[in-house]
Structure formats: structure tokens, C-alpha cells
Amino acid sequence: MGKEHIRIVDTDIHERVQYKDILKYLDEPFKHYIQNCHWVQEKHMPYTQPTVAGVDRADAKIPDGKPAGTDLAFMQKQLLDDIGHEFGILTSALDPSPSSMHGWYEMATALASAYNNWQIEEWLERDERLYGSVHIAAQDRDAAVKEINRVGSHPKMVQVLLPIDDIMWGDPFYHPIFEAAEKHNLMIGMHHNEPPVYYGKWPRYFIEWHTLISTAHMKQVTNMIFNGVFDKFPNLGLMMIEGGFTWVPHIMWKMDQQYRDLRHEVPWLKRKPSDIFKEQIRVTTQPAEELTKQEFMSLIEQMGTDEILCFSTDYPHWDYDSPTRALPNLDLELKKKIFAENAKSFYPKLPNSKEF
């Protein structure tokens, strides 16, 4: 793939904050709890991620020793300039962030606000290519709605990153969040977090957890569709991030089949589940399995549309997908769609986007 010919909209880039860098954006007493009381975020994962540099690409560590993803200049050099990104959408590194916090809702809410301010000032306003995600601590729903209303109108915020937790996303609990997102032309971003729904437990090995990330996504999207979220919020879109994409035809077929048999249980559904999927849901490509062109094209055919997939790198994480190597060599028109046009059509706030 010639770098100069294909524009890239990268739908999953992880910037990362360190505690010392976020303090100035944090209100008291929360700043005090971190600075003087040794508070650190609870950690969930029982594994050492069995890669060379933990969660990161080993070559993405900042030369001065700071963790990968903490330095805009280095990210520009290694990712945005090198590959020639047109746009990149920031999805954070989840720590410290409310995304995997339980308990102490006040701290999670304060962190979300601080994170959003840090993201806007240090990233979104310093590189015109970068767009952002509104972080919320959804366990305190009303505070989350306030936060969406506070920063959601920022011109470079394109989605709300809703943490996966133990309330399914179709539940009316979340509807005020969807309503606020819709009001600000924000899409909903679904990114796996730790842990995804797994019957309350971790599997024994990291390889199992990482293999099955998509199952959490499948459960959530099925729940949202059958609970009528996409009919109630017709302008809402869902971007499913970092769960891969080879499961998409399966869940579309399965939901359609079930709908034919069991429609009487969910009479509020006015469209076939696969049509809802095609119209309001998009899926990022990473982590891509190694497919031949024939296998890849077969999947597109099974999805019934080439407008669902949106390319993502997941930079700077260890399972990064290279824009030139991760997908098979596709025909030019399809390449343009997957690498840029599909994402531009999806996010109303990305420049050149078409009406959804």
C-alpha cells in the first residue's frame, strides 16, 4: 500500500497520562488523595501480560524512560507523521481513568473530568489530526451525563467512551447517557476494559481472556439491539473498538434468525437486527486475524456491506496493527472505505463526514 495514496483515519489510539501529569487538572480533595494519601487505582488483571514490554510495543517507550503513549511529540514521530495519518481518534490507556474503577464514585467522576481536561489541552488542541473521547464514570450516571454536557460540545470530541460494567448497555439505566451523547452529536465508543464480562471471574490464562474479548462486545450489542436502544435513539451510533471483526457475520445471522422466531417478545424492534447493525454500528479492525484476501472478502460479503469496518492500529499497545501489513492487499475502493471513509461517514464531528 502506498502511504501517500491512502488516507488513514485511525480509530483507536491510546494516549496515556501519568498521575503526576494529571494532578493539575484534578480538584481537591482528590488531588490530595493522590498526592498525599498514596491512592492508586485498583488493578484487576492477574496476569503479567506475556509480551516483551507488558501492554505496550517495546519500541514505543519514550526515549527518556516515560511509558508509551505519554508524549505527543514521540507519538507524532512514530505514528502520525511516519504513517501519514489524516485523523486519529484517542481512546486513552484506561489508567488512571474511571473505566475500570469500582466503588468511590466521587473519585472516578473527578478523574474523568480531569482526564477530559488533560486530553483536550495536551492532545486535542495541540495536533489538528487528533480527535477525542469523552470519559465518564458511568456508575454515577447523573454525574456522567453532566460530564457529557460539560465537554461534549468541544469540537474535537467525537464519542463517549462508555465503560463496560455489570449493567448491560441496553438497560434503561444508560438511556440518559445515550440521550446526552445524541444531543451533542457524539457516538458511543465500546472498548474492552478490565475485566470484560466473564461470569464475574478471570479465566486462568491471559490468552483465554484476550481470545474472548469479542464475547463481551457480542453480549453488549445484542442487549442494546433487542432492548430497542437504536430505535429509541435513531441518531446514535456505536463504534465497537478492539474486539476484532470476524465475529460480525455470526452475530448478525444469529440475531436475524432469532428475530424471525421470537419477534413477539421484542415487538418494539422495527428493523431486522442486521439492518440496525448496518445502519448504526461500526467495528474497528484491530486486532486483526491473519486472513487471506479471499477470506477477508468472504467476510465482507457475509456482512452484506463494506461500510462496517474501520481501520485501527491500537498504537502503542503490543498487539498494534500495522496499516501496511495487518490486512490483506485490498482493492483500492475498498481500501479507501476501510482506512478512512467509513469512519468519516460514521462520526458526525469528523471533517468531511456525510450525514449518518
Binding site: 509480551t51 516483551v52 519500541d59 491473519e290 496493527d321 495487518a326
Partner: protein, 119 residues
């Protein structure tokens, strides 16, 4: 025959690796714990990551059984800096999970203190 001095033996301790150039190609020079030198194309077969940014380490072997890890081959395995794929330095750069895949390799000899890569 094309050949080139890529580094001095003193530049690499046993168990270390470094990037070098062989003509226009980026190569990876590895030194195993027994002091031997090896050279491969410095590019992962999967998505092209620069292997010198990864690590030389050991491997959990197929002698392991569930609940009982067997770890050896210290200093003989290259791990990719991105996806962690493992390549066996002493087995022609073959990938542990799929020995049909291997890193492109170069011949190496040492003369005096010069490490020489040749085809």
C-alpha cells in the same frame, strides 16, 4: 560473494543483540550465551516490527504440562517487540508456534574481532 564487517565482537555480550546494516538491508546480529554470533533480517515475518527493539530471552518449552511450566533455552530466543512472537536463533530463526515460518538469515563468521556477515 558479498560480505561486510557489521560490528566488533566486543560490541555484543553473550545474550545480547543489535541492529546493523548489511548493504541496504537492516540486519539483526545476535550473540547466544555460548558466544556464537547469528544474523537475521531485522524484521518480523508477521507485520514487519524491528526485532532489535524486542528481547533475547528463553522460552517455555513443549515439555511443559498444564500447571507445570518448563523454561529453558535462555539467550536463544528472539521475541518480537510488538506481538511477542518467538524465533529460535539456533534453529534457523524458526518461529516456535509455527516452525514453517522463519526469519530470513545470513551467514556469519568471526575474524580476529570482526563480525562478518556474508551471503
Amino acid at each position: 560473494m558479498k560480505e561486510q564487517v557489521v560490528c566488533k565482537t566486543t560490541e555484543l555480550e553473550p545474550g545480547e543483540m543489535k541492529a546493523a546494516h548489511f548493504g541496504k538491508q537492516d540486519v539483526l546480529i545476535c550473540r547466544t550465551l555460548d558466544g556464537e554470533f547469528y544474523a537475521f533480517l531485522n524484521q518480523c515475518t508477521h507485520q514487519g516490527a524491528p526485532l532489535d527493539k524486542g528481547m533475547i530471552c528463553g522460552a517455555t518449552t513443549e515439555d511443559s504440562t498444564p500447571g507445570d511450566y518448563h523454561y529453558c533455552r535462555k539467550g536463544e530466543i528472539i521475541r518480537c517487540p510488538w506481538h511477542g512472537r518467538e524465533f529460535d536463533i539456533k534453529d534457523e530463526g524458526r518461529m516456535l508456534a509455527n516452525p514453517n515460518k522463519r526469519l530470513a538469515s545470513f551467514k556469519v563468521r568471526v575474524e580476529n574481532e570482526d563480525v562478518i556477515v556474508y551471503k
